[in-house]
Structure formats: structure tokens, C-alpha cells
């Protein structure tokens, strides 16, 4: 049975939407109009018309090509689902240090003992990596109590203020308005705007216990001001948009669907490099406060990580490294990755409990 051409095209837009390209009604209209102009018979031009009207970012273009191939060229293979890539939980290059062995060993009895004392204050200071599911759930409600304040930067523009330096042009304008009669002096000061904060969250296997809490923290901070969030692991994923939603649970689900490499390995150096190339150096990290949440367990070469961190520091205003293991008793920064990044950080903080996140927010606000 043959379908009408517009049905076929509409079907295509539906397939695109199903594949995750945000195709809206008006885009569909634009697409149909564009195809009508170039003509259905010109397949190549119709393809280009679709790219121009239905896509809005390079990610969309890649998906569009996939769906186009599958839909119009009638191959049997359906387009790959986005989450198909199962993270490979490989820890091959991870050095097993003594304290991490300790943690694993203690785990069982610590959990049972501490589960009894689930007072809020205690919960605030508990290591999130060691909480039970029920405690984690309780803790998640406490994130709403965090009060992120945004760091400020001074702008090149001035704003009126009741003291500061003399605002000559405004004073003169006011006096001109009174036909040259001198009057009150106007003052001004440098304007202030919120400084951008960039969060890079390691979602590799070794950080999986903290990933949920860190995304919650990112969500909380996103509600307060201009924050861009990326997850790093084996790949770099931009999750800011997913975290913008007001409802924390929904935002977390959306972010979870966006990230393809949960609990995979870590290639910190490479993903950091990708971040700098694609986003950071072009302006996203310029003058921003960059917070990296990672334990520094690097599979790849630590020299690459070191050079990228140096490069990041040259671009960013402040670089803060948050390592959940730092809060553990007897922690020594011995991992290769941590040693490589330490010289290039302005701050090195713990990030294993809600209390330490509150501290982190304070550090970011003062940056």
C-alpha cells in the first residue's frame, strides 16, 4: 500500500522525535514547506531541507542521518537505541590502594551499625557511598535544604549606585535637562553579574556510589544561577538541559537517560581534553569557576591529564577539585591522577557527605 507523500514525511518526523531529536509542530511545518519548495523528486535537496528545518545542533545532525538512512533507504536494521551502549565496568588500570580495601572490608558491619542512628545531623555527615538505599532516599530530600549562592564577577559596564565614583555623563545629562543648571551628582559603580559555574562530574564505576548525589547537587546549583554541567567518564556528555527542570526526580531521570556511559571506565585526560576543545576554550570555561568531581583514578596516561588540567586552569577563573575519598580517614593523595592534578587546582576538597557539599557551595560562592 502506498502512502501519501505528506504522510511519509510526517512519519519521518515522528521517527526522528522517537530517536530523541526535539521535533516540534512548527518545525514539522517548516520541513513540509521546505520540501514542497525544493520538490520531492530531488532526494538530495529534500534531505538537506530536513537537516536545516528539523535539526538544531550537531548531535541532532548525527541522529538525523541515522534515521534518514533507516527510514528512507529501507534497510532492515532499525536505528540504534541511544542507551544501547552498556557501560563496560572495567577497572583494569585502577590501583587498589590499602584504604580502598579497608572500605570494602568494613562495609558490611558499618552499614548495620550506622543504619540505627539515622538522625538528620548524622546523616549530613555520613559518607554517601556507604548509605543504604533507604538512607539515600532520606538524604535526597535534604538536598533541598542546601542554599547555593552564586559567585559574582564584575562587568565592564557600570551601574548606578548611591556611592562609588562620579558618573560624569549622567550628572551632565541631568544638568543639561535643567538647561545647564548644576544639580545633584550621580554616582556609579562597576556592575555585577553572576559568574558561570561549570561542573564536571565523573560517572565512572569507581564514583558510581556518589553519582546520584552529585547530580542532585548539580540540579540544586542549576536552580540558583548559570551552571553548566557535564558528565565525564569514557565520554563527555552535556546534561545541563536535563537538569534545568524544577522537579529534582524528573531532572535526574532525564539526565540519566542522556548519559551513555554510566559506571564505565575513566579516561579523565581524554574527556577533559574533549571538554576543553569543544566547549571550554571557546568560552564556556573562560572566567568560570570549574568544579571537577572525581576520584582521580585514571585509566589513561596521567601526563595527558596533567597537561589538560594546566590548560583548564589557564582558561578558568578558579579550578576546584572535589574528591569523595579525601574525606576518609587516613587519605593520602597517592593515585597517579590525583598527583597529576593537584598542582593545577586552586582548591582540593572532600565531597563524600552532605556537609562537605555545603562547604563546597561556600567555596564556590566566594570564588
Amino acid at each position: 500500500m502506498k502512502h501519501a507523500p505528506d504522510e511519509v514525511l510526517l512519519g519521518f518526523t515522528r521517527a526522528l522525535r522517537a530517536a530523541g531529536v526535539p521535533v516540534t509542530q512548527d518545525r514539522t511545518h517548516g520541513y513540509l514547506a521546505a520540501v514542497a519548495i525544493v520538490g520531492l523528486d530531488d532526494a538530495r535537496a529534500a534531505y538537506d531541507a530536513g537537516r536545516a528545518t528539523l535539526c538544531a545542533s550537531p548531535d541532532d545532525l548525527a541522529r538525523y542521518d541515522q534515521i534518514y538512512e533507516a527510514y528512507f533507504n529501507g534497510r532492515d536494521g532499525l536505528p540504534r537505541a541511544r542507551q544501547a551502549e552498556a557501560g563496560v565496568p572495567s577497572f583494569s588500570g585502577m590501583p587498589i590502594s590499602e584504604e580502598s580495601l579497608d572500605v570494602v572490608g568494613d562495609d558490611a558491619d558499618v552499614d548495620t551499625v550506622r543504619a540505627m542512628a539515622s538522625d538528620v545531623e548524622v546523616l549530613r555527615h555520613r559518607d554517601i557511598g556507604e548509605l543504604t538505599a533507604a538512607e539515600k532516599h532520606r538524604l535526597s530530600t535534604l538536598f533541598a535544604g542546601l542554599r547555593p549562592r552564586h559567585p559574582q564577577r564584575r562587568t565592564s559596564r557600570h551601574e548606578r549606585w548611591h556611592r562609588g565614583s562620579v558618573d560624569a555623563s549622567r550628572t551632565l545629562r541631568a544638568s543639561l535637562r535643567r538647561m545647564g543648571e548644576p544639580g545633584e551628582i550621580a554616582w556609579r559603580r562597576r556592575g555585577h553579574r553572576p559568574r558561570r559555574v561549570v561542573l564536571l562530574i565523573d560517572v565512572s564505576g569507581s564514583m558510581s556510589a556518589y553519582a546520584d548525589a552529585l547530580l542532585r547537587l548539580a540540579h540544586r546549583m542549576t536552580q540558583a544561577g548559570p551552571v553548566e554541567t557535564f558528565t565525564i567518564g569514557t565520554r563527555l556528555t552535556h546534561v545541563t538541559r536535563a537538569l534545568r527542570g524544577r522537579d529534582a526526580e524528573r531532572a535526574l531521570i532525564a539526565a540519566g537517560e542522556t548519559v551513555p556511559d554510566w559506571s564505565g571506565g575513566t579516561r579523565l585526560g581524554e574527556t577533559l581534553q574533549m571538554f576543553l576543545e569543544r566547549w571550554g576554550r571557546r568560552g564556556l570555561a573562560r572566567g568560570a569557576v570549574v568544579v571537577v568531581f572525581s576520584d582521580g583514578w585514571e585509566r589513561g596516561d596521567a601526563t595527558l591529564l596533567a597537561s589538560q588540567m594546566a590548560s583548564l586552569r589557564r582558561v578558568a577563573h578558579r579550578v576546584v577539585w572535589v574528591n569523595p575519598h579525601r574525606g576518609k580517614a587516613g587519605y593520602e593523595p597517592v593515585q597517579q591522577g590525583v598527583l597529576a592534578v593537584l598542582p593545577h587546582c586552586d582548591e582540593f576538597l572532600a565531597g563524600h557527605s552532605l556537609a562537605t557539599y555545603a562547604e563546597l557551595l561556600e567555596v564556590v560562592a566566594r570564588a
Binding site: 525544493v38 537537516r51 543639561l176 576554550r281
Partner: protein, 290 residues
């Protein structure tokens, strides 16, 4: 300026020295036909701004450019009143002692001649014209909302004067370097195109058409090297603009055949980071020795 097909657009652009591939020609054609703004993204130096210049030259329309920057606001994009001249005008009225009607005098202050038309208003007034909104990602979110308003209606309301509407909507080209994601609402209004680095043949043709003084052979060598450099891992891979600069620089030194010495001396035209310079030097060593 009636344009019949994508091929004609490509031809007209070629006449101005801008080589567009099929996809870009089609998108440009659609933007003209559907009267929609064209949002062009891509790596720096791939000819986003040049596209707007090319369209303006090809259609023989004035190009009006609005360079965005952080903190840009409506008075810099739309219009402003020329305050000193208004005062002067008032003084002149006073001196003439026309003793006239206050209301009349006040009204004469808000005349079109005291209006400083900034790019967007100028484009609406002069339309048909090409309005280039360059590096829109540098402006703030609020500015995007403002652009959205203008781009959807192609008219601007000045409270003291009334509404200025474009007789024919201007051709609008927005460029972005993707330092941040633009708002969806703005993107929806536009046709989207991602400009990639061109392939070998196209880039050679671009060099030949933009810098005709460079010999075919040198152009081929230069482009070959640049294309391979793009695959190595550089902080800032050279764009077409850098290729052109480099080819011109080599030509100025009288180079006819790319060798290690001349390329080392002109490296500053190609890479702009110190870390890159050492890497490129190394890569060139291997490429040109072979």
C-alpha cells in the same frame, strides 16, 4: 533578486568567490524562499561570516552587520535618540525665538533625523538587505529574546515615532561558535546549518578563488598539509581562514614549493598557540621529510 533554484544560488555565490556545497546552497535557497533567518554554526574559520558577505554580494544588497558581545542591549542593536543634537535643536528654536507652541517644539524633537538607526533598525529601513548577526552566542539570553521578537515580525515599535516595518523582510544570517547553546525558541525560528571543514578538492578551489595569486601547486601542497594537521590533535585546528593566511604568507615570501624552512618561518599564520606550534613543527618534520 528572484532566485530560481539552489543551483543558481550556488552559481551566484561562486561568482563572488564563495564556494558553497550543495547542502549549503539548498539551505540558503530555502532561507531566501521561506524568508526565514539562517542560523549557521561551525568551527571558527570555516566561513560563516563570509557566507553573509557572499549572499550580500551575490544579490547585490547592502550588508548590515551586528556584532554581538556580552552586555549588548537594544539601544546598540535597534536605535537611540541623538541627545546632544536634540538639545542643540531646542537651543536653535530658542534662539530663533519662534515663541511657538510648546507641543509643536516637543514633537519636532522626536523626528526621524534625530534617530540613530542601529543595525537591526537600519536593516529594516533599508530592506531588502542582508543582516548579519555575528557570534550571537556571545550576547546574553535577554538579547536573544529581543532578537526573537524582531525576527518573528520584522518590525520595531518606537514609542515616539510609531512602528517601523520592513517592506520586504531582510535576509538574516546568524552565526554562532557554540560557546553556549542558543535558546530553543530562537533556533526554531531559524533554518539550521552546520558548516564543516571542506574536503581537499573544495578547499583547494577555495584557496584558488580567494587567493588567485597562489599557484595551483602550492595551494594543493598547503591544503594537503593543513588537512592532515586537522586530524592531529591540536588545541585549535586550523580553519579555512588560516589556510588562506598561510598560503598568502608563503606566497609573499616567494615560495613555490612547500619546504621545511619556509613553513617554519610562516607557522605563525597557521597556529596561534605555543603548544600547537611545537606539535605542528614536529608533524611538518615528518610530512615534508617523507
Amino acid at each position: 533578486m528572484e532566485t530560481g533554484s539552489a543551483a543558481e544560488i550556488a552559481e551566484a555565490l561562486r561568482g563572488t568567490g564563495y564556494l558553497a556545497d550543495d547542502a549549503l546552497a539548498t539551505v540558503t535557497f530555502l532561507a531566501l524562499r521561506m524568508q526565514r533567518p539562517l542560523l549557521v554554526e561551525g568551527e571558527p574559520g570555516t566561513g560563516k561570516t563570509a557566507l553573509a558577505e557572499g549572499i550580500a554580494a551575490a544579490l547585490d544588497l547592502p550588508l548590515i552587520r551586528l556584532q554581538c558581545y556580552e552586555g549588548i542591549d537594544a539601544t546598540q542593536a535597534l536605535y537611540d535618540w541623538d541627545f546632544p543634537r536634540q538639545i542643540l535643536h531646542l537651543r536653535a528654536l530658542e534662539a530663533a525665538g519662534s515663541g511657538a507652541d510648546v507641543e509643536e517644539a516637543e514633537k519636532s524633537l522626536y523626528d526621524e533625523r534625530f534617530l540613530l538607526a542601529r543595525p537591526v533598525l537600519a536593516a529594516l529601513q533599508q530592506s531588502p538587505a542582508v543582516l548579519l548577526v555575528d557570534e550571537v552566542d556571545r550576547a546574553d539570553d535577554e538579547f536573544e529574546a529581543f532578537l526573537l521578537e524582531v525576527l518573528s515580525t520584522y518590525q520595531v515599535t518606537i514609542p515616539e515615532l510609531g512602528t517601523v516595518a520592513a517592506a520586504t523582510p531582510p535576509i538574516v544570517v546568524l552565526t554562532s561558535n557554540r560557546t553556549r547553546e542558543l535558546h530553543d525558541a530562537l533556533k526554531r525560528r531559524c533554518l539550521y546549518h552546520w558548516i564543516d571543514h571542506p574536503g581537499l578538492e573544495r578547499e583547494v578551489a577555495i584557496v584558488r578563488s580567494r587567493a588567485p595569486e597562489v599557484s595551483e601547486e602550492l595551494a594543493r601542497q598547503v591544503v594537503g598539509v593543513v588537512q592532515r594537521l586537522r586530524e592531529t590533535d591540536l588545541l585549535k585546528p586550523p580553519g579555512v581562514a588560516e589556510t588562506l593566511d598561510w598560503a598568502r604568507a608563503l606566497n609573499h615570501l616567494g615560495t613555490t614549493d612547500l619546504d621545511l624552512e619556509s613553513s617554519a618561518r610562516t607557522l605563525g599564520a597557521l597556529v596561534k598557540y605555543r603548544d600547537d606550534a611545537t606539535k605542528v613543527q614536529h608533524a611538518l618534520d615528518q610530512m615534508l621529510r617523507a
